[in-house]
Amino acid sequence: MANKVIYAVYEDPEQLKDGARKLVSNGIKVKDVFSPFPVHGIDPIIGIKRTRLGIVSFMFGITGTCLALLGIWYFNIFDWPMNIGGKPSQALYKNLPAFIPVTFEFTVLCAAHGMAITYLIRNKTLPGMPARNPDPRSTDDKFIIEVRTAENHGHSAEAITGLLRETPVFEINERQY
């Protein structure tokens, strides 16, 4: 039997969640969900773990802080200490108040860009990538559940669509792959 991919199309995020709950409670694995905006509460239903991008951002930020302090220490304290108006640059800790603004800005710069780049790579959204959503309506007004028979050996395609029809589904599409 050929493997099938089933797309259940809904018109409302709450109905989509009902559909996903129905499948999951019958032991069917939901491959993915596509929607025009974030469907709050879908992640625990279909078993998506919390993203670690926040941690990534923190790591980039702290790297930025360290780099900024190291750079400023090297430029203005170690390599070429300036004496402006009788106020010499003597030690990093003595001049620290004046170094806070740049350190802060550089921390934000690294945290924001580091996270943004990681986000784009992890989502595989980069310039020139082709559209990979299964149905163009999923960025407009439709909410789609994707189920693969290859991941659900105990259930036939007919059984899965039968369950879906018990929910307020708008349409069901099947494709071979």
Binding site: S35, F37, D43, I48, A98, A116, R137, T139, D140
Partner: protein, 462 residues
């Protein structure tokens, strides 16, 4: 799904479906632009071309063609710089601070306010650039190894802090804006019929899929970026104010400058958002999304920040007297009664007195009046920077050095030109970009949409 109190006014009027929201925003991009757009674009681009000419003339001749002199060595250039940076603050405030406060009304206006921020910051950055005189040396502000021995930039200087603050602010705002745009570009990609447009928006949308994990990441990135953009936006105008506050010029040497500048920035930024959106909602028929309630909320922000600015002006005045420092006192007497009295009183009228009219609900919900006030506030905030910069410099410690500032046609041309460039960029944005954050507006439709709220209320009564 959570529901919202019936007493809260709806943020999306009429009966809209998700599909209607897509069509309302994508149709103007796909169809021919209205005649009004071509007229506005024509005017804006002529002014922009003239301004670009003035800038090129300035660069080729040197800043001697401006009206600057040995006493007043900062004038319209830095006034315009601070004015534009200030305008830029509203976008980030709306998209970041209001996101942290979970204000749903931000969703209809954040996209265009952020676009405005980016264009305003570009205009702002132009001024210190051309004020350097030799713009081709502008990379000297970076800490680069160089042939002058180990001479590095001075990290103790607020001018250098500004380099880092403005460039960080610009690039982070741009990224924040673009990350929000990606899913909406995907909506356009999947909606338009013309193959050329499909291709272009396909490239712009980076292959967005909108699957569950992508949205989880999207929301995390939005939240964290908002969290770090919030202190960033406050830091930027604080750093701009340090350019003045850390000096010893009477009238500049003031510790209240950071909060005073930040609230002034938000004040002027919201005024510019009103100027742009009141026209845009009319021309692009967005009345159902950018409602009178949105305009009223923004006017409330204008009263709050305008009042903070008013208190700052009065505090400044009081402290100059109370400090007993005669140079400081003179600076303020000179502002109010000296040769630039007209600038001071224009600033006071536009920024302190006129926003108080918004206490009347009739006035703050009147669109024509709001538009008029938004222009008044923008004029007032330009005068504020002119007063702080020129009136403080033109008479400081040494009376023999006192002088006046007279702008030349190049000063005027460059300033007007940046307004032209700004509007050209904004009009291009309004024509080709999704002017509403589609994905965000759709997410509040069933909570804050008028017909859905009415249904929920009726359901509740039964």
């Amino acid at each position: 799904m959570h529901s919202e109190a019936a007493i809260r006014e709806p943020l999306i009027l009429g009966h809209k479906t998700y599909g209607d929201i897509t069509n309302d925003i994508v149709a103007p991009i796909e169809n021919k632009a209205p005649t009004g757009w071509y007229v506005l674009m024509g005017i804006a681009s002529i002014i922009a071309a003239y301004g670009t000419g003035c800038i090129l003339y300035l660069i080729s001749k040197g800043i001697g063609v401006w009206g600057l002199n040995k006493t007043v060595d900062w004038a319209w250039d830095i006034t315009n710089f601070v004015w534009w940076v200030g305008i830029g603050h509203a976008g980030t405030l709306i998209s970041a601070v209001l996101l942290l406060f979970r204000q749903k009304w931000r969703m209809a206006i954040n996209r265009s306010a952020e676009a405005m921020t980016i264009f305003a910051v570009i205009m702002a950055a132009t001024f210190p650039g051309i004020h350097m005189g030799r713009i081709w040396m502008s990379y000297w502000v970076l800490p680069l190894p160089n042939q002058f021995g180990s001479l590095w930039v001075n990290f103790n200087s607020p001018l250098l802090w500004d380099v880092f603050a403005i460039s960080t602010y610009f690039s982070v705002s741009l990224v924040f804006w673009y990350i929000g745009l990606i899913p909406d570009f995907a909506t356009i990609r999947d909606k338009v019929a013309k193959p050329g447009m499909k291709k272009v928006y396909g490239i712009l949308s980076f292959g967005w899929t909108g699957n569950a994990k992508a949205w989880t990441r999207f929301e995390e990135v939005s939240l964290v970026l908002a969290g770090i953009a919030t202190p960033l936006v406050f830091s930027v105008h604080s750093v701009v104010s340090f350019d003045f506050a850390t000096s010893i010029v009477p009238g500049w040497h003031t510790t209240i400058f950071p909060p005073y500048f930040v609230s002034g920035a938000v004040f002027s930024g919201f005024a510019m958002v009103q100027t742009l959106l009141l026209v845009m909602r009319k021309v692009m028929h967005l009345e159902n999304y950018i409602t009178v309630k949105h305009v009223e909320y923004m006017n409330i922000v204008i009263i709050v920040t305008g009042s903070i600015v008013g208190v700052a002006y009065i505090t400044e005045l009081f402290v100059s007297w109370y400090s007993g420092v005669e140079y400081e006192s003179y600076a303020f007497i000179n502002r109010a009664t000296g040769p630039y009295w007209w600038a001071y009183w224009s600033m006071m009228t536009c920024n302190v007195i006129s926003p108080q009219l918004f206490w009347f609900k009739k006035l703050r919900t009147h669109l024509g009046f709001t538009f008029f006030m938004s222009i008044i506030v923008n004029i007032g905030m330009w005068f504020e920077r002119f007063v702080i910069i020129v009136t403080s410099l033109h008479r400081d410690y040494l009376p023999s050095a006192w002088n006046m500032f007279h702008p030349t046609w190049v000063d005027v041309g460059v300033f007007i030109g940046t307004i032209g460039i700004f509007f050209t960029l904004y009009l291009l944005f309004a024509r080709y970009f999704p002017v509403l954050a589609l994905n965000e507006v759709k997410s509040i439709l069933k909570v804050s949409g008028e017909s859905y709220k009415r249904d929920a209320a009726n359901h509740h009564h039964h």
